[in-house]
Point group: C2
Chain length 277, copies 2
Protein backbone atom coordinates (compact mmCIF):
# COMPACT_ATOMS: atom_id res chain seq x y z
CA UNK A 1 0.00 0.00 0.00
CA UNK A 2 1.35 3.43 -0.89
CA UNK A 3 2.24 5.73 1.94
CA UNK A 4 -0.57 8.23 2.49
CA UNK A 5 1.27 10.27 5.10
CA UNK A 6 2.34 12.99 2.65
CA UNK A 7 -1.06 14.68 2.65
CA UNK A 8 -0.11 17.86 4.46
CA UNK A 9 -0.35 20.77 2.10
CA UNK A 10 2.76 21.45 0.10
CA UNK A 11 0.78 24.47 -1.08
CA UNK A 12 0.80 25.84 2.46
CA UNK A 13 4.56 25.40 2.66
CA UNK A 14 5.03 27.09 -0.70
CA UNK A 15 2.93 30.03 0.42
CA UNK A 16 4.87 30.48 3.64
CA UNK A 17 8.15 30.17 1.79
CA UNK A 18 7.10 32.79 -0.73
CA UNK A 19 5.98 35.16 1.99
CA UNK A 20 9.20 34.79 3.96
CA UNK A 21 11.51 35.20 0.98
CA UNK A 22 10.18 38.39 -0.55
CA UNK A 23 13.26 39.24 -2.67
CA UNK A 24 13.08 35.86 -4.35
CA UNK A 25 9.36 36.03 -4.89
CA UNK A 26 9.35 36.10 -8.65
CA UNK A 27 11.61 33.07 -8.96
CA UNK A 28 9.46 31.25 -6.38
CA UNK A 29 6.29 32.03 -8.24
CA UNK A 30 7.64 30.81 -11.56
CA UNK A 31 8.86 27.63 -9.91
CA UNK A 32 5.49 27.09 -8.27
CA UNK A 33 3.62 27.43 -11.54
CA UNK A 34 5.82 24.77 -13.08
CA UNK A 35 5.84 22.49 -10.03
CA UNK A 36 3.34 19.66 -9.71
CA UNK A 37 0.36 20.32 -7.51
CA UNK A 38 0.11 17.92 -4.59
CA UNK A 39 -3.41 16.61 -5.04
CA UNK A 40 -2.84 14.47 -1.93
CA UNK A 41 -3.68 17.56 0.15
CA UNK A 42 -7.34 17.04 -0.68
CA UNK A 43 -10.02 14.63 0.45
CA UNK A 44 -11.15 12.37 -2.39
CA UNK A 45 -14.83 11.53 -2.83
CA UNK A 46 -15.94 8.85 -5.29
CA UNK A 47 -19.18 10.01 -6.94
CA UNK A 48 -19.66 6.67 -8.75
CA UNK A 49 -21.88 3.63 -8.13
CA UNK A 50 -20.37 0.21 -8.79
CA UNK A 51 -21.69 -1.72 -11.77
CA UNK A 52 -23.37 -4.94 -10.65
CA UNK A 53 -26.62 -6.87 -11.11
CA UNK A 54 -28.55 -4.16 -9.23
CA UNK A 55 -27.35 -1.27 -11.39
CA UNK A 56 -30.32 0.77 -12.59
CA UNK A 57 -30.94 1.20 -16.34
CA UNK A 58 -33.75 2.95 -18.17
CA UNK A 59 -36.87 0.73 -18.11
CA UNK A 60 -36.77 0.34 -21.90
CA UNK A 61 -33.10 -0.70 -21.97
CA UNK A 62 -32.89 -4.02 -23.84
CA UNK A 63 -30.26 -5.36 -21.43
CA UNK A 64 -28.47 -4.39 -18.23
CA UNK A 65 -24.96 -4.95 -16.81
CA UNK A 66 -23.75 -8.53 -17.12
CA UNK A 67 -20.38 -9.84 -15.90
CA UNK A 68 -19.18 -13.30 -16.91
CA UNK A 69 -16.25 -15.02 -15.27
CA UNK A 70 -13.55 -16.23 -17.67
CA UNK A 71 -11.00 -17.47 -15.12
CA UNK A 72 -10.75 -17.65 -11.34
CA UNK A 73 -8.24 -19.83 -9.50
CA UNK A 74 -4.86 -21.48 -9.69
CA UNK A 75 -3.49 -22.01 -13.19
CA UNK A 76 -1.32 -24.82 -14.56
CA UNK A 77 1.58 -22.42 -14.15
CA UNK A 78 1.01 -22.45 -10.38
CA UNK A 79 -0.08 -18.83 -10.07
CA UNK A 80 -3.56 -17.45 -9.33
CA UNK A 81 -5.44 -15.82 -12.22
CA UNK A 82 -8.83 -14.09 -12.35
CA UNK A 83 -10.45 -12.48 -15.39
CA UNK A 84 -13.94 -11.54 -16.56
CA UNK A 85 -15.80 -10.20 -19.56
CA UNK A 86 -18.84 -7.95 -19.43
CA UNK A 87 -21.60 -6.36 -21.46
CA UNK A 88 -23.53 -3.18 -20.80
CA UNK A 89 -25.60 -0.59 -22.64
CA UNK A 90 -23.83 2.79 -22.64
CA UNK A 91 -26.61 4.46 -20.65
CA UNK A 92 -27.04 2.96 -17.19
CA UNK A 93 -25.49 3.26 -13.76
CA UNK A 94 -23.22 6.25 -13.24
CA UNK A 95 -22.70 7.26 -16.84
CA UNK A 96 -22.03 10.12 -19.22
CA UNK A 97 -24.31 11.27 -22.02
CA UNK A 98 -22.19 12.42 -24.93
CA UNK A 99 -23.56 15.32 -26.98
CA UNK A 100 -24.48 12.98 -29.85
CA UNK A 101 -26.89 11.11 -27.55
CA UNK A 102 -29.59 13.70 -28.38
CA UNK A 103 -27.90 15.94 -30.99
CA UNK A 104 -27.03 14.74 -34.51
CA UNK A 105 -23.51 15.69 -35.53
CA UNK A 106 -22.37 16.67 -32.05
CA UNK A 107 -19.49 15.03 -30.17
CA UNK A 108 -19.24 11.32 -29.50
CA UNK A 109 -17.86 10.34 -26.10
CA UNK A 110 -14.20 9.97 -27.14
CA UNK A 111 -14.33 13.40 -28.81
CA UNK A 112 -15.16 15.32 -25.64
CA UNK A 113 -12.00 17.20 -24.57
CA UNK A 114 -10.90 15.89 -21.16
CA UNK A 115 -10.35 19.49 -19.99
CA UNK A 116 -14.11 19.95 -20.25
CA UNK A 117 -14.61 17.10 -17.78
CA UNK A 118 -12.29 18.54 -15.14
CA UNK A 119 -13.77 21.57 -13.43
CA UNK A 120 -14.90 23.28 -10.25
CA UNK A 121 -17.93 21.63 -8.64
CA UNK A 122 -21.16 23.59 -8.27
CA UNK A 123 -23.60 21.62 -6.10
CA UNK A 124 -27.17 22.91 -6.21
CA UNK A 125 -29.40 21.51 -3.47
CA UNK A 126 -33.09 21.04 -4.36
CA UNK A 127 -33.86 18.48 -1.67
CA UNK A 128 -36.59 20.59 -0.09
CA UNK A 129 -38.35 21.26 -3.38
CA UNK A 130 -38.03 17.60 -4.50
CA UNK A 131 -39.37 16.34 -1.17
CA UNK A 132 -42.53 18.37 -1.81
CA UNK A 133 -42.76 17.49 -5.53
CA UNK A 134 -41.04 14.36 -6.80
CA UNK A 135 -41.23 15.69 -10.38
CA UNK A 136 -39.59 18.99 -9.46
CA UNK A 137 -37.43 20.78 -12.05
CA UNK A 138 -34.68 23.24 -11.17
CA UNK A 139 -35.93 26.73 -12.00
CA UNK A 140 -34.14 29.89 -13.08
CA UNK A 141 -35.17 31.37 -9.70
CA UNK A 142 -33.47 28.45 -7.89
CA UNK A 143 -30.29 29.09 -9.86
CA UNK A 144 -30.40 32.82 -9.11
CA UNK A 145 -30.96 32.16 -5.41
CA UNK A 146 -27.96 29.81 -5.42
CA UNK A 147 -25.79 32.44 -7.12
CA UNK A 148 -26.85 35.14 -4.65
CA UNK A 149 -25.63 32.92 -1.85
CA UNK A 150 -22.54 31.33 -3.41
CA UNK A 151 -21.51 33.63 -6.25
CA UNK A 152 -21.77 33.22 -10.03
CA UNK A 153 -21.48 29.72 -11.52
CA UNK A 154 -17.98 29.82 -13.04
CA UNK A 155 -17.20 28.97 -16.65
CA UNK A 156 -16.08 25.35 -16.89
CA UNK A 157 -18.06 24.31 -13.81
CA UNK A 158 -19.30 20.75 -13.40
CA UNK A 159 -22.81 21.38 -12.10
CA UNK A 160 -24.18 18.67 -9.80
CA UNK A 161 -27.88 18.84 -8.95
CA UNK A 162 -28.57 17.34 -5.53
CA UNK A 163 -32.15 16.13 -5.16
CA UNK A 164 -31.53 13.65 -2.34
CA UNK A 165 -32.52 10.77 -4.64
CA UNK A 166 -29.20 9.05 -3.98
CA UNK A 167 -30.53 7.56 -0.78
CA UNK A 168 -33.10 5.62 -2.88
CA UNK A 169 -30.42 3.85 -5.00
CA UNK A 170 -30.59 0.97 -6.00
CA UNK A 171 -34.34 0.60 -5.25
CA UNK A 172 -35.69 0.89 -8.79
CA UNK A 173 -39.28 1.63 -7.79
CA UNK A 174 -38.36 4.41 -5.37
CA UNK A 175 -35.56 5.78 -7.57
CA UNK A 176 -37.40 5.84 -10.92
CA UNK A 177 -40.95 6.14 -9.57
CA UNK A 178 -41.98 2.94 -11.33
CA UNK A 179 -40.31 -0.43 -11.83
CA UNK A 180 -42.53 -1.91 -14.54
CA UNK A 181 -40.13 -3.55 -17.02
CA UNK A 182 -40.14 -2.02 -20.49
CA UNK A 183 -42.43 0.86 -19.50
CA UNK A 184 -40.99 4.37 -19.18
CA UNK A 185 -44.40 6.09 -19.29
CA UNK A 186 -44.88 6.52 -15.55
CA UNK A 187 -41.51 7.67 -14.21
CA UNK A 188 -41.22 10.20 -11.42
CA UNK A 189 -38.07 11.89 -10.20
CA UNK A 190 -36.68 15.45 -10.12
CA UNK A 191 -34.04 17.05 -12.36
CA UNK A 192 -33.23 20.20 -14.34
CA UNK A 193 -35.75 22.55 -15.95
CA UNK A 194 -35.21 23.95 -19.47
CA UNK A 195 -34.84 27.59 -18.44
CA UNK A 196 -32.26 26.78 -15.77
CA UNK A 197 -30.37 24.55 -18.21
CA UNK A 198 -30.23 27.38 -20.77
CA UNK A 199 -28.97 29.78 -18.11
CA UNK A 200 -26.24 27.31 -17.11
CA UNK A 201 -25.15 27.04 -20.75
CA UNK A 202 -24.97 30.85 -20.83
CA UNK A 203 -22.48 30.55 -17.96
CA UNK A 204 -20.42 28.18 -20.15
CA UNK A 205 -20.47 25.20 -17.78
CA UNK A 206 -18.50 22.06 -18.66
CA UNK A 207 -21.16 19.47 -17.84
CA UNK A 208 -24.52 19.02 -16.08
CA UNK A 209 -24.81 16.19 -13.55
CA UNK A 210 -27.62 14.92 -11.34
CA UNK A 211 -28.24 12.30 -8.66
CA UNK A 212 -31.25 10.92 -10.54
CA UNK A 213 -31.49 8.81 -13.70
CA UNK A 214 -31.75 11.70 -16.16
CA UNK A 215 -31.01 15.38 -16.67
CA UNK A 216 -34.72 15.59 -17.63
CA UNK A 217 -37.25 14.90 -14.88
CA UNK A 218 -39.12 11.59 -14.82
CA UNK A 219 -42.33 12.61 -16.66
CA UNK A 220 -40.47 14.22 -19.59
CA UNK A 221 -41.59 13.04 -23.01
CA UNK A 222 -39.54 15.41 -25.16
CA UNK A 223 -36.27 15.29 -23.16
CA UNK A 224 -35.97 19.01 -23.74
CA UNK A 225 -33.05 19.47 -21.32
CA UNK A 226 -31.11 16.72 -23.13
CA UNK A 227 -31.89 18.43 -26.44
CA UNK A 228 -30.79 21.87 -25.25
CA UNK A 229 -27.64 20.74 -23.47
CA UNK A 230 -26.32 18.27 -26.06
CA UNK A 231 -26.92 20.77 -28.88
CA UNK A 232 -24.37 22.97 -27.09
CA UNK A 233 -21.84 20.08 -27.03
CA UNK A 234 -22.19 19.82 -23.24
CA UNK A 235 -22.33 16.30 -21.75
CA UNK A 236 -24.62 15.06 -18.99
CA UNK A 237 -23.69 12.98 -15.94
CA UNK A 238 -26.47 10.78 -14.60
CA UNK A 239 -26.91 8.64 -11.49
CA UNK A 240 -24.13 10.59 -9.76
CA UNK A 241 -23.48 9.18 -6.27
CA UNK A 242 -22.57 10.60 -2.87
CA UNK A 243 -23.41 14.26 -3.46
CA UNK A 244 -24.03 14.56 0.30
CA UNK A 245 -20.24 14.48 0.72
CA UNK A 246 -19.62 17.67 -1.29
CA UNK A 247 -19.77 21.33 -0.26
CA UNK A 248 -21.81 23.72 -2.49
CA UNK A 249 -18.56 25.13 -3.90
CA UNK A 250 -14.81 24.59 -3.47
CA UNK A 251 -14.48 20.99 -4.64
CA UNK A 252 -12.97 20.00 -7.97
CA UNK A 253 -14.58 17.31 -10.14
CA UNK A 254 -12.84 14.90 -12.50
CA UNK A 255 -15.28 12.85 -14.63
CA UNK A 256 -13.52 10.40 -16.91
CA UNK A 257 -15.69 8.27 -19.21
CA UNK A 258 -14.66 5.07 -20.88
CA UNK A 259 -13.20 6.07 -24.25
CA UNK A 260 -15.61 4.35 -26.63
CA UNK A 261 -14.95 5.27 -30.26
CA UNK A 262 -18.21 6.66 -31.65
CA UNK A 263 -19.95 6.13 -28.31
CA UNK A 264 -23.10 8.06 -27.44
CA UNK A 265 -21.95 7.89 -23.81
CA UNK A 266 -20.78 5.25 -21.41
CA UNK A 267 -19.66 4.31 -17.93
CA UNK A 268 -17.90 7.21 -16.22
CA UNK A 269 -15.79 7.34 -13.06
CA UNK A 270 -16.42 10.60 -11.25
CA UNK A 271 -14.14 11.75 -8.45
CA UNK A 272 -14.19 14.97 -6.44
CA UNK A 273 -11.24 16.56 -4.69
CA UNK A 274 -12.49 18.41 -1.63
CA UNK A 275 -10.29 21.03 0.05
CA UNK A 276 -9.74 21.22 3.78
CA UNK A 277 -9.17 17.47 4.24
CA UNK B 1 -18.29 25.19 -25.54
CA UNK B 2 -17.00 26.19 -22.11
CA UNK B 3 -14.69 29.15 -21.92
CA UNK B 4 -11.09 28.02 -21.65
CA UNK B 5 -9.63 31.47 -21.14
CA UNK B 6 -9.33 31.12 -17.36
CA UNK B 7 -6.20 29.00 -17.52
CA UNK B 8 -3.76 31.48 -16.07
CA UNK B 9 -2.55 30.22 -12.70
CA UNK B 10 -4.55 31.24 -9.67
CA UNK B 11 -1.70 29.59 -7.74
CA UNK B 12 0.69 32.23 -9.08
CA UNK B 13 -1.65 35.00 -7.96
CA UNK B 14 -2.02 33.44 -4.50
CA UNK B 15 1.74 33.17 -4.11
CA UNK B 16 2.28 36.80 -5.06
CA UNK B 17 -0.53 37.93 -2.76
CA UNK B 18 0.91 35.97 0.14
CA UNK B 19 4.39 37.39 -0.48
CA UNK B 20 3.15 40.97 -0.67
CA UNK B 21 0.95 40.80 2.43
CA UNK B 22 3.36 39.41 5.01
CA UNK B 23 1.39 40.41 8.14
CA UNK B 24 -1.66 38.55 6.88
CA UNK B 25 0.32 35.53 5.80
CA UNK B 26 -1.22 33.04 8.20
CA UNK B 27 -4.79 33.94 7.26
CA UNK B 28 -3.82 33.81 3.57
CA UNK B 29 -2.26 30.42 3.97
CA UNK B 30 -5.30 28.95 5.72
CA UNK B 31 -7.55 30.34 3.03
CA UNK B 32 -5.33 28.95 0.30
CA UNK B 33 -5.37 25.48 1.80
CA UNK B 34 -9.18 25.53 1.77
CA UNK B 35 -9.47 27.12 -1.67
CA UNK B 36 -9.95 24.98 -4.77
CA UNK B 37 -6.92 24.40 -6.95
CA UNK B 38 -7.35 25.68 -10.46
CA UNK B 39 -6.48 22.62 -12.51
CA UNK B 40 -7.09 24.68 -15.66
CA UNK B 41 -3.56 26.04 -15.27
CA UNK B 42 -2.19 22.75 -16.59
CA UNK B 43 -1.97 21.11 -19.98
CA UNK B 44 -4.10 17.96 -20.17
CA UNK B 45 -2.78 14.84 -21.91
CA UNK B 46 -5.05 11.87 -22.58
CA UNK B 47 -3.04 8.66 -22.05
CA UNK B 48 -5.88 6.46 -23.32
CA UNK B 49 -6.56 4.66 -26.61
CA UNK B 50 -10.14 4.62 -27.86
CA UNK B 51 -11.98 1.29 -27.79
CA UNK B 52 -12.90 0.17 -31.30
CA UNK B 53 -12.64 -2.85 -33.59
CA UNK B 54 -8.84 -2.46 -33.75
CA UNK B 55 -8.29 -2.44 -29.99
CA UNK B 56 -5.60 -4.97 -29.05
CA UNK B 57 -6.43 -7.81 -26.63
CA UNK B 58 -4.29 -10.70 -25.45
CA UNK B 59 -4.12 -13.34 -28.20
CA UNK B 60 -5.96 -15.87 -26.02
CA UNK B 61 -8.82 -13.48 -25.19
CA UNK B 62 -12.07 -15.24 -26.13
CA UNK B 63 -13.57 -12.02 -27.48
CA UNK B 64 -12.62 -8.41 -28.15
CA UNK B 65 -14.44 -5.07 -28.03
CA UNK B 66 -17.82 -5.10 -29.73
CA UNK B 67 -20.20 -2.15 -30.03
CA UNK B 68 -23.80 -2.64 -31.21
CA UNK B 69 -26.03 0.21 -32.24
CA UNK B 70 -29.38 0.33 -30.45
CA UNK B 71 -30.71 3.61 -31.88
CA UNK B 72 -29.50 6.27 -34.28
CA UNK B 73 -31.77 8.84 -35.89
CA UNK B 74 -34.94 10.83 -35.53
CA UNK B 75 -37.50 9.39 -33.11
CA UNK B 76 -41.29 9.49 -33.28
CA UNK B 77 -41.04 12.34 -30.76
CA UNK B 78 -39.24 14.40 -33.41
CA UNK B 79 -35.89 14.57 -31.63
CA UNK B 80 -32.62 12.82 -32.56
CA UNK B 81 -31.52 9.88 -30.39
CA UNK B 82 -28.40 7.68 -30.50
CA UNK B 83 -27.54 4.83 -28.16
CA UNK B 84 -25.34 1.72 -28.19
CA UNK B 85 -24.54 -1.34 -26.12
CA UNK B 86 -21.12 -3.01 -25.92
CA UNK B 87 -19.22 -6.03 -24.68
CA UNK B 88 -15.56 -6.32 -23.74
CA UNK B 89 -13.25 -8.50 -21.71
CA UNK B 90 -11.82 -6.55 -18.77
CA UNK B 91 -8.25 -6.89 -20.03
CA UNK B 92 -7.71 -5.21 -23.38
CA UNK B 93 -7.02 -1.75 -24.73
CA UNK B 94 -5.93 0.85 -22.18
CA UNK B 95 -6.95 -0.99 -19.02
CA UNK B 96 -6.22 -1.49 -15.35
CA UNK B 97 -5.19 -4.78 -13.73
CA UNK B 98 -6.74 -4.94 -10.28
CA UNK B 99 -4.69 -6.72 -7.61
CA UNK B 100 -7.00 -9.77 -7.71
CA UNK B 101 -6.05 -10.34 -11.37
CA UNK B 102 -3.00 -12.31 -10.20
CA UNK B 103 -3.36 -12.38 -6.38
CA UNK B 104 -6.14 -14.30 -4.61
CA UNK B 105 -7.84 -12.27 -1.91
CA UNK B 106 -6.41 -8.94 -2.99
CA UNK B 107 -8.46 -5.95 -4.12
CA UNK B 108 -11.01 -6.08 -6.93
CA UNK B 109 -11.17 -3.03 -9.19
CA UNK B 110 -13.92 -1.15 -7.32
CA UNK B 111 -12.04 -1.66 -4.02
CA UNK B 112 -8.92 0.25 -5.10
CA UNK B 113 -8.95 3.60 -3.27
CA UNK B 114 -9.17 6.39 -5.85
CA UNK B 115 -6.41 8.28 -3.97
CA UNK B 116 -4.06 5.48 -5.03
CA UNK B 117 -4.84 6.19 -8.69
CA UNK B 118 -4.07 9.92 -8.46
CA UNK B 119 -0.37 10.59 -8.11
CA UNK B 120 2.78 12.22 -9.45
CA UNK B 121 3.95 10.78 -12.76
CA UNK B 122 7.34 9.08 -12.99
CA UNK B 123 8.18 8.39 -16.65
CA UNK B 124 11.09 6.00 -17.15
CA UNK B 125 12.42 5.94 -20.68
CA UNK B 126 13.84 2.59 -21.91
CA UNK B 127 13.49 3.30 -25.62
CA UNK B 128 17.19 2.83 -26.30
CA UNK B 129 17.36 -0.51 -24.48
CA UNK B 130 14.12 -1.75 -26.07
CA UNK B 131 15.29 -0.74 -29.56
CA UNK B 132 18.29 -3.05 -29.06
CA UNK B 133 16.30 -5.86 -27.37
CA UNK B 134 12.55 -6.09 -27.98
CA UNK B 135 12.21 -8.34 -24.90
CA UNK B 136 14.04 -5.90 -22.64
CA UNK B 137 13.07 -5.69 -18.97
CA UNK B 138 13.62 -2.62 -16.78
CA UNK B 139 16.51 -3.37 -14.44
CA UNK B 140 17.34 -2.17 -10.95
CA UNK B 141 20.31 -0.38 -12.51
CA UNK B 142 17.99 1.47 -14.90
CA UNK B 143 15.87 2.58 -11.97
CA UNK B 144 18.90 3.75 -10.00
CA UNK B 145 20.21 5.67 -13.00
CA UNK B 146 16.81 7.34 -13.37
CA UNK B 147 16.80 8.31 -9.68
CA UNK B 148 20.32 9.73 -9.87
CA UNK B 149 19.15 12.02 -12.63
CA UNK B 150 15.62 12.90 -11.47
CA UNK B 151 15.55 12.21 -7.73
CA UNK B 152 13.92 9.41 -5.72
CA UNK B 153 10.66 7.95 -6.99
CA UNK B 154 8.12 9.46 -4.57
CA UNK B 155 5.62 7.46 -2.53
CA UNK B 156 2.29 7.38 -4.33
CA UNK B 157 3.90 7.79 -7.77
CA UNK B 158 2.22 6.47 -10.88
CA UNK B 159 5.18 4.92 -12.70
CA UNK B 160 4.93 4.92 -16.50
CA UNK B 161 7.47 2.86 -18.41
CA UNK B 162 8.14 4.33 -21.84
CA UNK B 163 9.46 1.76 -24.31
CA UNK B 164 8.44 3.56 -27.48
CA UNK B 165 6.01 0.74 -28.33
CA UNK B 166 3.15 3.24 -28.55
CA UNK B 167 4.10 4.11 -32.11
CA UNK B 168 3.33 0.47 -33.09
CA UNK B 169 -0.31 0.62 -31.86
CA UNK B 170 -2.69 -0.74 -33.22
CA UNK B 171 -0.52 -3.01 -35.42
CA UNK B 172 -0.97 -6.30 -33.54
CA UNK B 173 2.02 -8.04 -35.10
CA UNK B 174 4.45 -5.21 -34.41
CA UNK B 175 2.97 -4.38 -30.99
CA UNK B 176 2.74 -7.92 -29.56
CA UNK B 177 5.52 -9.52 -31.63
CA UNK B 178 3.07 -12.07 -33.05
CA UNK B 179 -0.50 -11.88 -34.30
CA UNK B 180 -1.38 -15.58 -34.47
CA UNK B 181 -4.91 -15.83 -33.02
CA UNK B 182 -5.18 -17.85 -29.83
CA UNK B 183 -1.41 -18.24 -29.46
CA UNK B 184 0.45 -16.31 -26.75
CA UNK B 185 3.58 -18.48 -26.91
CA UNK B 186 5.62 -16.24 -29.18
CA UNK B 187 5.07 -12.71 -27.91
CA UNK B 188 7.84 -10.13 -27.88
CA UNK B 189 7.74 -6.70 -26.28
CA UNK B 190 9.57 -4.94 -23.42
CA UNK B 191 8.33 -4.21 -19.89
CA UNK B 192 9.34 -4.31 -16.22
CA UNK B 193 11.83 -6.72 -14.63
CA UNK B 194 11.14 -8.38 -11.26
CA UNK B 195 13.95 -6.70 -9.33
CA UNK B 196 12.98 -3.23 -10.54
CA UNK B 197 9.32 -3.94 -9.74
CA UNK B 198 10.25 -4.97 -6.17
CA UNK B 199 12.32 -1.81 -5.76
CA UNK B 200 9.40 0.32 -6.95
CA UNK B 201 7.13 -1.36 -4.40
CA UNK B 202 9.74 -0.51 -1.73
CA UNK B 203 9.24 3.12 -2.77
CA UNK B 204 5.49 2.65 -2.14
CA UNK B 205 4.34 3.60 -5.63
CA UNK B 206 0.61 3.81 -6.36
CA UNK B 207 0.59 1.92 -9.67
CA UNK B 208 2.86 0.58 -12.42
CA UNK B 209 2.01 1.47 -16.01
CA UNK B 210 3.54 0.66 -19.37
CA UNK B 211 3.08 1.47 -23.07
CA UNK B 212 3.06 -2.23 -23.98
CA UNK B 213 0.40 -4.92 -23.48
CA UNK B 214 1.66 -6.18 -20.11
CA UNK B 215 3.68 -5.23 -17.05
CA UNK B 216 5.57 -8.50 -17.79
CA UNK B 217 7.60 -8.62 -21.00
CA UNK B 218 6.31 -10.60 -23.96
CA UNK B 219 8.13 -13.93 -23.40
CA UNK B 220 7.08 -14.22 -19.74
CA UNK B 221 5.48 -17.51 -18.80
CA UNK B 222 5.16 -16.99 -15.03
CA UNK B 223 4.02 -13.35 -15.09
CA UNK B 224 6.30 -12.75 -12.15
CA UNK B 225 5.93 -8.95 -12.19
CA UNK B 226 2.15 -9.31 -12.12
CA UNK B 227 2.49 -11.72 -9.19
CA UNK B 228 4.83 -9.45 -7.22
CA UNK B 229 2.93 -6.23 -7.84
CA UNK B 230 -0.62 -7.50 -7.31
CA UNK B 231 0.40 -9.30 -4.09
CA UNK B 232 1.24 -5.82 -2.77
CA UNK B 233 -2.25 -4.55 -3.73
CA UNK B 234 -0.74 -2.35 -6.42
CA UNK B 235 -2.60 -2.16 -9.76
CA UNK B 236 -1.11 -2.24 -13.25
CA UNK B 237 -1.90 0.05 -16.18
CA UNK B 238 -1.38 -1.51 -19.61
CA UNK B 239 -1.44 -0.18 -23.18
CA UNK B 240 -0.91 3.35 -21.87
CA UNK B 241 -0.92 5.85 -24.76
CA UNK B 242 0.93 9.05 -25.61
CA UNK B 243 3.82 8.80 -23.14
CA UNK B 244 5.87 10.91 -25.55
CA UNK B 245 3.84 13.89 -24.37
CA UNK B 246 4.97 13.66 -20.73
CA UNK B 247 8.10 14.97 -19.00
CA UNK B 248 10.10 12.50 -16.81
CA UNK B 249 8.71 14.18 -13.68
CA UNK B 250 6.37 17.04 -12.82
CA UNK B 251 3.11 15.80 -14.33
CA UNK B 252 0.24 14.46 -12.28
CA UNK B 253 -1.66 11.34 -13.35
CA UNK B 254 -5.32 10.52 -12.76
CA UNK B 255 -6.24 6.95 -13.75
CA UNK B 256 -9.93 6.22 -13.23
CA UNK B 257 -11.12 2.69 -14.07
CA UNK B 258 -14.71 1.68 -14.72
CA UNK B 259 -16.14 0.71 -11.32
CA UNK B 260 -16.97 -2.95 -11.93
CA UNK B 261 -18.11 -4.71 -8.75
CA UNK B 262 -15.82 -7.69 -8.25
CA UNK B 263 -13.88 -6.85 -11.40
CA UNK B 264 -10.35 -8.15 -11.95
CA UNK B 265 -9.67 -4.95 -13.88
CA UNK B 266 -11.28 -3.05 -16.69
CA UNK B 267 -11.23 -0.12 -19.07
CA UNK B 268 -9.47 2.88 -17.54
CA UNK B 269 -9.32 6.50 -18.61
CA UNK B 270 -5.89 7.92 -17.85
CA UNK B 271 -5.24 11.64 -17.94
CA UNK B 272 -2.09 13.58 -17.09
CA UNK B 273 -1.93 17.20 -15.96
CA UNK B 274 1.32 18.71 -17.17
CA UNK B 275 2.61 21.93 -15.59
CA UNK B 276 3.90 24.86 -17.61
CA UNK B 277 1.06 24.88 -20.12
Amino acid sequence: MPDRSRRNGSLLILLLLAALTAPAVQAQAVQAQKAPIDLKGFRTVDLTYSFDEKTIYWPTSPTTFKLDRLSYGKTEGGYFYASNTFCTPEHGGTHLDAPIHFAAGKRTVEQIPVEQLIGPAVVIDIRAQAAADRDYRLTLQDLRAWEEKHGAVPAGAIVLLRSGWGERWPDRKRYLGDDKPGDASNLHFPSYGAEAARALLDRKVGALGVDTASIDHGPSKDFIVHQIVTAANVPGLENVANLEDLPPTGAWVIALPMKIAGGSGGPVRIVALVPGA
